[in-house]
């Protein structure tokens, strides 16, 4: 918070009368009520995960804490492997997206060539028709490529990201032409300029896109559910679903533990880097 904002805040505080103070109190109460309501499901999952099954639906403050549910979940399904699969999936997908969109975005932003508008339109089509609605045909393509039930099959349809190309193109367009020219005079090749001038200047956008992409692919479910069928390829979301629907019946403590485990890395990253997350989602949406 800047000092200007603070000064403004205290100035505003001085002029509030009793009526607006009551208003303020009511608004605060409402905001807190909603926040508690909103976070309640998660608190509930935390409660169930860290207490013995007996207390899953009984809120007794003296209930003993335990990690037993986590060990039982890990023993019942290969969650560590699922997690590894997800990590490989999001890394591979993001790496592919970054390289492919950088090259494409640069061409659209800075080169004059035949067919540019048409090709750009063809890219934008993907903003409207995302690969995950074309389940049947994409399944057919993936299977004819012979990569069914691989991690590559989950990521490949998303690797050319219209969203990424669009976002980076907008950013590259704001890079001053003079910088570009200066680097060229210094003897940089076009690819050199892209790597040394454009990419570093677009860093915040790369971070934003990276966070959005990682959260999307970490959470993606339906497409991976369709193309994977073995432990070695399933991401955590699919693993969790298989586990919850087949193996467990209604042992809520274990399911809660598994649920938290699958979301934990993303949740913890979010809690640690809240500001970056929120700003990234803003940036990605607005540009």
């Amino acid at each position: 918070m800047t000092s200007a904002a603070l000064a403004q805040g205290s100035a505003a505080a001085r002029i509030v009368d009793a009526g607006t103070r009551l208003d303020h109190l009511l608004v605060t109460a409402g905001a807190w009520l909603l926040a508690v309501l909103w976070i309640l499901p998660l608190l509930f999952a935390l409660w169930a995960a860290f207490h013995p099954p007996l207390y899953a639906a009984r809120f007794d403050l003296t209930a003993p804490l335990t990690l037993d549910n986590f060990t039982r979940a890990m023993a019942a399904a290969p969650f560590a492997r699922y997690m590894l699969n997800t990590l490989m999936l999001v890394t591979m997908t993001l790496a592919g997206q970054l390289v492919i969109s950088t090259l494409a975005a640069f061409a659209f932003a800075r080169l004059e060539f035949w067919g540019r508008d048409l090709l750009f339109f063809l890219v934008l089509v993907q903003l409207m028709i995302t690969p995950d609605v074309l389940l049947v045909e994409n399944y057919r393509i993936v299977s004819s490529l012979g990569i069914l039930d691989t991690i590559l099959a989950i990521g490949l349809p998303y690797m050319a990201s219209a969203f990424g190309i669009f976002l980076l193109r907008q950013t590259f367009k704001t890079v001053p032409k003079e910088l570009d020219d200066a680097a060229r005079i210094e003897g940089c090749t076009t690819l050199g300029i892209l790597l040394r001038v454009y990419v570093p200047l677009a860093r915040p956008i790369y971070v934003a896109f990276g966070l959005v992409s990682v959260s999307f692919h970490w959470n993606n479910f339906l497409w991976p559910l369709i193309v994977t069928s073995s432990v070695e390829t399933r991401p955590v979301t699919v693993g969790l679903q298989v586990f919850a629907s087949v193996d467990q019946g209604i042992d809520w403590s274990v399911i809660s533990a598994a649920t938290l485990f699958t979301s934990a890395p993303l949740l913890i990253a979010f809690l640690l880097f809240q500001r970056q997350f929120v700003q990234s989602f803003m940036r990605a949406g607005i540009k």
Binding site: G30, A104, F113, V133, T190, A244, T262, L266, L267, V278
Partner: protein
């Protein structure tokens, strides 16, 4: 195009074109393979029957589309469900998102916590969220039924009865989406100069008036953006349906994409699934065309 021999400008342009096309090659190959070609193939497949065993696919013309309207009550129900789902969840989550953003933007006590609480559900995978909510809805000892029992109400099988199943999955969707939309409103609110509020105060406008007459109109572009995203989301996300109800009981909570998934990957009627996908594509394309042609012209961007 006629090209004068040896024109250096044209040569340069040709070179740039080759260079640009090379840069675009990886992106275009993947886009054609996983977006353009499958879209066309989906249209094409929807005119044929599904090949089964020794029986090859035969041309059916518009039969699949006729079947949807006259001979497939599940399709009609699923479309109705999806329509209702969009009609309820979109205004609710946008409304809640707006209120959240207005609150978080004020200098309230514990603002950091409020923002965190509102936004956290967004970070969770939908499947994880669905599994948590499953617990709430459980008959007997589920949290909601415990609360109902406290007030002496009857036990409700939220996900198991046709009257409540769709509403129960809607709640999960609103819970998960509102915080996401809040972010965009928050960004827009932070770009409104504080001087506007001071001016409104000086003119004697109440907070309510200030929000209604000044803030809401300024938020229109954001609302449009969020609205388009929400509509697309309402037709694209069915993870919670898979995890919570499987579309049941008797399709009461099934949505269009879930029905496509069922038709294509459980009943293996891929060409009927293709025809259903065409309907979904039509919805998505209509939304985008409306966004570009009608709404964008009415609402001025910065």
């Amino acid at each position: 195009m006629a090209r004068p021999v040896g024109d250096p400008c044209m040569d340069r342009r040709l070179l740039t074109t080759i260079y640009a096309w090379l840069l675009l090659l990886p992106a275009m190959v993947l886009l054609v393979a996983f977006t353009h070609y499958p879209t066309v193939a989906t249209f094409w497949a929807s005119f044929f029957s599904t090949a089964r065993g020794r029986r090859p696919a035969s041309f059916l013309g518009l039969d699949h589309y006729r079947r949807m309207i006259t001979d497939d009550p599940v399709f009609l129900q699923v479309v109705w469900n999806n329509f209702l789902y969009a009609l309820v969840t979109i205004p609710l989550s946008i409304g809640i998102a707006l209120v959240m953003a207005l609150w978080v933007n004020e200098r309230l006590a514990g603002r950091g916590f409020l923002r965190m609480a509102y936004f956290t559900p967004t970070v969770l995978p939908m499947v994880a969220a669905a599994n948590i909510w499953l617990f709430f809805y459980t008959p007997g000892f589920g949290l909601l039924n415990q609360i109902i029992a406290l007030f002496g109400g009857p036990d409700v099988n939220f996900l198991g009865s046709p009257e409540t199943a769709l509403w129960s999955v809607m709640a999960v969707s609103v819970w998960k989406e509102a915080g996401f939309f809040m972010i965009f409103y928050l960004a827009a609110l932070q770009s409104i100069p504080p001087s506007l509020k001071e001016a409104a105060k000086l003119e004697g406008a109440s907070d309510f008036h200030y929000v209604r007459r000044i803030v809401l109109p300024l938020l229109m572009p954001t609302t449009l953006f969020v609205l388009v995203n929400a509509v697309i989301g309402a037709f694209r996300v069915v993870d919670h349906i898979v995890a919570m109800t499987g579309g049941g009981p008797s399709n009461a909570s099934s949505l269009l994409l879930f029905y496509i998934y069922e038709t294509g990957f459980k009943f293996w009627d891929t060409s009927y699934a293709a025809a259903l996908t065409v309907v979904l594509l039509a919805v998505l394309i209509t939304v985008s065309v409306l966004q570009v042609t009608v709404l964008d012209k009415r609402i001025h961007y910065r």
